[in-house]
Symmetry: C2
Subunit: 347 residues, 2 copies
């Protein structure tokens, strides 16, 4: 590999070496059939010699679609999202695309910022877990021509592709499980924010309690984590306040496994035995939650599949005869050791 002057490694330079014009190099690259075999060989040699790196921005300016796909999620640090991202990345890589990941921490400003940067980059599209039900910002992005796939949020009014696991069902599964075990006083532990998917789970759980003839306000405490804190640590701390109540719940349903593990830790630290004195249900079934002690009962969502599905939908948006689709997975209750009938029933 010849050492070449850094700075002159474009098609122009290749053309000079091959003794043709840049236009012909462009043809050799983009429509090889238009170029005579002999010329093509010379050009290919020159390309190898120079170590040609095509200038993406210039190409995009000419209308070639950008390879970047945005993934706007709540928190890359949450293993569930990481695995989801990995699934998306795998599928995108096959299409020569790359994943730009933006964590919002459920903050609208951060979501807006991420969408703006992605739009300015002329991203090929974005996959978004919206921070709330506010649609104008998302629609603005779509209107301006950036394809958008919803992740974990389905909205009938929104004419968009979406990939999700049924959150209402998931919330119901968790609540019915504890209700079936005999629990009558539960708590729902979640972040301060209003991510739609979590709201749906909570609402579904509420409805389960109501349908069982319980007063949801009392039978399902809405336990909110302080804003802007590390979720797991905040959950661990929250446990203290929950236990201090005159009538503490006997079961806690958590927004996700990260929070559930924080809750488990908080309970362990305070000597509360799980599941004997408190049942805990997570959400996601992220990696290794079956190996903690006690093993976490949780609602499984297929992380990698969700990512792949979303990526596939996004890519299909380029298809001329694209019609918006909604891919929905069924979450699944995985019963493990962190749930059991409440103590008073066992006496």
């Amino acid at each position: 590999m010849t050492q070449t002057d850094p700075g002159r490694r474009g098609m122009r330079e290749v053309a000079r070496i091959a003794g043709v014009t840049p236009a012909t190099v462009g043809n050799a690259l983009n429509r090889p059939h238009l170029v005579a075999p002999a010329t093509r060989e010379r050009i290919e040699a020159a390309i190898a010699q120079v170590g040609l790196v095509r200038n993406g921005p210039a190409r995009q300016l000419r209308g070639v679609p950008s390879p970047v796909v945005g993934l706007v999620i709540v928190d890359l640090g949450n293993p569930f999202y990481a695995e989801l991202g990995r699934g998306a990345e795998d599928l995108l890589a096959e299409a020569g695309c790359t994943l730009t990941i933006c964590s919002t921490d459920a903050r609208p400003e951060r979501q807006d910022r991420a969408l703006s940067v992605l739009e300015e980059q002329a991203a090929r599209g974005v996959i978004v877990t919206p921070v709330n039900k506010e649609q104008t910002r998302l629609l603005a992005t779509v209107r301006r021509g950036t394809p958008l796939v919803l992740l974990d949020y389905v909205c009938d009014e929104l004419e968009l592709c979406s990939a999700s696991a049924d959150n209402s069902l998931g919330g119901r599964l968790a609540a019915e499980h504890l209700l079936g075990l005999g629990h009558r006083r539960l708590g729902y532990v979640r972040d301060r924010g209003a991510v739609p998917s979590v709201d749906e789970r909570y609402e579904a759980a509420r409805q389960v309690m109501a349908a069982a003839g319980l007063e949801p306000g009392r039978a399902l405490l809405d336990l909110r984590l302080p804003a802007g804190a590390q979720a797991a640590a905040a959950a661990e701390a929250l446990v203290g306040r929950v236990l201090a109540r005159r009538t503490a719940p006997t079961g806690l349903i958590c927004q996700n496994d990260v929070i559930a593990l924080g809750v488990l830790r908080g309970l362990a630290r305070r000597g509360v035995s799980v599941p004997d004195d408190m049942s805990v249900v997570g959400y996601d079934d992220m990696l290794f939650v079956d190996q903690v002690s006690p093993a976490l009962t949780t609602v499984r969502q297929p992380a990698a599949e969700l990512g792949r599905a979303a990526a596939e939908l996004l890519l299909s948006e380029r298809d001329p005869e694209h019609a918006h689709r909604r891919i929905s997975f069924k979450p699944q209750l995985i019963v493990r050791g962190s749930t059991a009938p409440p103590a008073d029933l066992k006496r």
Copy 2:
């Protein structure tokens, strides 16, 4: 917000509405002091009305640096890397940059592909955990003008910035710990690949054994996971083969926590009690490994800090008086329940 014709939302359109030329809009945006307050106001109004989205590719073509920073790692699905990515993302977001993540699975082709795409995107720089000690590809990237920060790999010959936690020390800590407990026959469980950081840990462990007067080839089995498999599942399966040996090791040191948890699972499935019949040491101290049963003894690396440090180094490359720096963290042995003296010593 006025609905505007999609497709005409550039500076040209803003200029038309504000009654100026595109150049003035450019000035208002990039050098506001050059524009009369009144004009500026009109322009700002027009910008808001149109919902201006600047064309990134066009700007980059003119020399404005791209906001995209590449992070080339082994596997986004590994919570350690996910947390590291989150750290990098946080720091980059403050500088208006975005993170494009590429998983290599320790495969050279995938690393090369990722670097090529990132270079073509004219990325502002890349942070790379190299898949092996081969330097030519990395150097080619640097030579062509893309700043590169090494992650988790320090190489004296490479004149580059790097952020890492001392892998030799980490490997030593793990081996000395088990040696100190009385183990004399160990196994090192790692992927088939040759990621430099892991090699360093392994070599350091080997040296510890040798320094203790043991024959490294026998005292530290090199246990390789089959290529291309899910690490945790492969590790789980590997356990069977390890136990089948006529003289099985009494302790296993693992390349990372994901593998260690797979090993723990494999041991549990086969009724081998940890730490009584087998000690297990992980690496990374990823989220929640203190809550598995038994709690995992591991070598802690500060994931988020590593990511932040690497991102900071990358950003500093733009600085005209930039000098390459090497940031090194000290890994730390965290002793928990998965290690103990070997059974024969306890009798």
